[in-house]
Point group: C2
Chain length 587, copies 2
């Protein structure tokens, strides 16, 4: 028996008990004839006191402990003289009677505290030490609680968790696959699943009715801060349902999670915003609704006054930043620089201040009369003290996206994006297709199995680009936390869809034959949704990167620097797999 109590559970009521604890040495302080050692485990920190007058030898041993030594201590729980109200165990200490060093530790390469002195690289290399920091451990604990709650909720709704295989077939459509050479089938490869999409649809064909799985998915894409080559999805599918059924159920789940994990009661139904509105009002299919600052289209107001930038624009849009009229010239210049950054790409920015007397002062005053500027003020619903920011461009979508970035930046600057406030919505009525310049064809915006809205089916023949889909995303604070769609279960409609997407029947059969064949044997109406687990946990934990809620993440080169993976293989392994390395110069 290594311990009778953890380091997190002792309270004043335990005073007088003899207990044994085990854990890591967090801190050692000497004061007078006493040595105080804080012992840490997953559950908390407990102060142990060694008294030189009571047992000089034991106290001397304690003086030789080092940070992160693993120790076992037996002693008597006593009330502290100097209580620490910040710590749950702050009312007590343990008067040590025995001390056993279970293991020694070298001096760790960074401090094991929430505010560590270790940089990102060293903390990743020693991730096992990084995980000792309470703030990192809390993310891992939250992740556990989240998956427990998700499973409890879905189980109570009749969902079955069904494991789908990790070694599946490669599908050229979609993102790039990670592949796995098969030794038993020379020259052939498995792929790791990008998602269990087709398999969960097969489970609906098989009558499983309600499926879910918390499952690893893989995409071999170039990485960014919020992307990992492997990520975890809460994957769900239901039969005999329409879009409302799915939205209601998963909105219920989201509310349940908010309540259980964050103590936030969301009583109102989530807004359901058509995709077209989201683009028009926020320039984004994942608008951050924690604040307003919606777009106002200003073509009627500002076009045709001789300001050639606006006169030649296909889109002019503004946002009104409440109370920001006091922005300095320097701040406004910085905003202009912000929107002109290559990743945003605006050509410039126009601003207009509403002054205390109601007059409007703009950066393009020479082109506009005060009367027009008052019209602008009215259109923007701006008041004295507000700042109007305007972007324009010759591509409506691109300009809206630029204005979206500007809106988010202003929200940030004005403190409107509080991590403890949550604004949830559904974006619905996504377009069925989007045009690919690269492929010179329509592509499925969601995937080729997405059901078009019933009322738009006639448009498939006449105006496919206008067809909307029964697809929906859940968005929280500007982050897409999940999305899904109703699937096509009718073979003829599916065939038409492939035709519009430019698949020959042969190619469709080759790539998705197993699914299309399955649909011949009584596929039920069905649909589903996948939540991104990493994103949900990050959201609840208030993290900037999903990496911080993953026990062993990979860096931006897809490397695990702790394990030093990937690495070269032995020649014997390559031979068994019938593979040769063939690194060519790529241009």
């Amino acid at each position: 028996m290594y311990r009778t109590k953890t380091c997190g559970e002792l309270r004043l009521a335990d005073a007088g008990q003899t207990v044994t604890i085990s854990g890591w040495v967090q801190r050692i302080r000497k004061m007078g004839g006493m040595t105080f050692v804080d012992i840490r485990d997953r559950y908390g920190i407990t102060q142990v006191v060694f008294n030189n007058e009571v047992d000089a030898a034991l106290c001397e041993e304690a003086n030789h402990l080092g940070r992160e030594f693993v120790v076992q201590i037996t002693g008597k729980v006593a009330e502290r003289y100097a209580k620490n109200p910040e710590m749950p165990t702050g009312d007590i200490e343990i008067e040590a009677q025995t001390l056993t060093v279970l293991n020694r530790s070298e001096v760790p390469p960074f401090t094991i505290e929430d505010e560590s002195d270790g940089g990102d690289d060293i903390r990743m290399k020693y991730r096992y030490l990084d995980l000792r920091r309470p703030c990192v451990r809390a993310n891992i604990e939250l992740r556990h609680r989240m998956t427990m709650e998700v499973r409890r909720y879905l189980d109570s709704k009749g969902f079955l968790e069904i494991e789908t295989p990790m070694l599946v077939g490669s599908t050229p459509e979609g993102a790039r696959d990670f592949v796995v050479p098969s030794r038993m089938n020379p020259g052939q490869f498995y792929a790791l699943p990008q998602s269990p999409q087709t398999l969960k649809q097969l489970l609906m064909v098989s009558g499983m009715d309600r499926y879910f799985q918390i499952v690893k998915c893989f995409r071999d894409e170039d990485l960014r801060a919020d992307r990992q080559p492997e990520f975890t999805q809460i994957d769900c599918e239901m039969s005999f349902v329409n879009q409302d059924d799915i939205i209601n159920l998963f909105e219920g789940m989201a509310k349940h999670l908010f309540k259980e994990l964050r103590g936030v009661e969301l009583t109102e139904p989530f807004i359901r915003m058509p995709w077209a509105d989201a683009m028009r009002l926020y320039g984004s299919d994942k608008p951050d609704l924690r604040f307003g600052m919606t777009f106002v289209e200003l073509m009627d107001v500002l076009k045709g006054h001789g300001f050639s930038v606006f006169d030649n624009a296909a889109y002019i849009g503004g946002i009104c930043a409440t109370g920001a009229a006091n922005y300095t010239r320097k701040q406004l210049d910085q905003l202009t620089d912000f929107v002109k950054r290559p990743q945003i790409g605006a050509k410039g920015m126009v601003y207009a201040r509403v002054e205390a007397d109601g007059n409007v002062k703009s950066s393009v005053d020479k082109f506009y009369t005060q009367e027009t500027l008052q019209e602008l003020k009215k259109a923007m619903n701006a008041r004295p003290g507000d700042l109007i920011l305007i972007l324009s461009g010759d591509d409506v979508m691109k300009t809206r996206k630029q204005l979206c970035e500007l809106r988010l930046e202003m929200g940030r600057q004005l403190g409107l994006r509080d991590k403890n406030k949550f604004a949830c919505l559904w974006v619905v009525d996504f377009p069925m297709f989007e045009w690919s310049d690269e492929e010179q064809r329509l592509m499925a915006m969601h995937h080729p199995f997405t059901h078009p809205k019933d009322e738009d089916i006639p448009l498939l023949d006449t105006d496919p680009a206008a067809v909307r889909a029964d697809a929906y995303d859940m968005v929280v604070n500007g982050v897409e936390v999940g999305g899904g769609s109703i699937r096509i279960h009718d073979s003829e409609l599916q065939a038409k869809m492939f035709e519009i997407l430019g698949f020959t029947p042969e190619k469709a059969q080759e790539q998705f034959g197993f699914l299309m064949n399955a649909f011949k044997y009584g596929a039920p109406p069905h649909g589903g949704l996948a939540y991104g687990l990493d994103r949900w946990v990050s959201l609840f934990a208030g993290l900037d990167s999903i990496r911080d809620c993953i026990a062993f993440p990979k860096n931006n080169s897809g490397r695990d620097v702790m394990l030093d993976a990937p690495a070269a293989l032995d020649q014997k392994q390559l031979d068994e797999l019938n593979l040769a390395i063939d690194i060519r110069d790529k241009e």
Copy 2:
């Protein structure tokens, strides 16, 4: 709204209600002017009746339904004239008012019933139809309930489920890895984990204290009926524990699962049998304790009587089959053939019957006096009507294994291996090492991180082959359902272990450096266990193969015949991965 009720929930008390159900057409029967259609969904089967006199057109539609059509039916719940007590819904039927065909079905390639006419191959190709069979679906449902219960139990004991990566480093020790080429790191490969063994030990170093994960593991081995290239493990690890702590906790979990999933209350503590006893009494490290028939060593009794087979043997052992003295000559010949099969490899079998009068008649009577045979009877504790079966050989272990196979076969023939009876035990005190003829060195029986028993540590220097480990397996009905060990947390002991295993310090560092480095920073005492989920579910479901409890299993060539995976890659994919296929003739 596709349905107001499922096909499994209507009872007599619902009579009079108007309801809507959706599901698959299981069966159509015409009787008089009525058409009876059984509708099936995941939850059950409900009978729908179409009355030609009430609505001739609707009845005609029903007559044109086919097997596995997906339909939606609205009607009134009515009490049945001919009740079916076999079915939960057998008291009622639905008098159809509307019928909608949601989808048609081609005639399925086999019958969708528990007793299907489809062979293994066709059922695997159309696995989505196979999964519609209630007996297959029941396995998937059981698997879901099992994982829910495991999580509930471990969560209540303070375990955190922590996801470890799927893309890790390849370790040459152990089974063959599946590997994943890295596009971003040309010429380098990830490996898929054979188990999260080292990662869970790192989580203990990180202070996570109690970890578990229900996780896919991968081994690229040649397949047998009960092996899959990907399988699922309930993987657990705990800190500050000894072997008893772990055994007690996971025995508690096993009992909880038996109770919740099988309604079996196991009140007695599981037997803890030293490995040496298991080998001596059952010739197996996973003895089936549903029946006795333990081995009796017969060297003293039978050696030195002129029967050269026994006189030259290093081991002679017998089992006593109660009441089997009536075995015919033909049955005994078949048993002899059984033990002489190449996969068992015995040279022959000796038998002795105890007759009603207490006399013993053996197949080697000419070498033994009745007096010696009476000694045999006494040694075997045999009674009139019993059959004694004896094997011998020049290799103790091999002969015991042969006798083990004979014992299991006799248990089967005598009906002693009841699938509804469960005999659980722990096999403990495994040897630390086993000799490898191939590698001409000691190998770790469990893995190189297994802790030797404290009292055997001195033997590491003098007689390493005699060292026993703090390792344990849980065995149920002759199946190893899980196993684990206490791990070494002391760097010096670990270094000695690698030395005995023939690793140079450099090789140990190269292969396990990340773990050995981690152990320098305060590794706590820890140990763990992994349960095989597939085996547990098979056991509870009474299946012969783990394949039947896996939604989409692979065949013996590692192929998913439904998905037709693995398959060749596009040249473009190979180029991106810097790989070339290089299939050479292998001898």
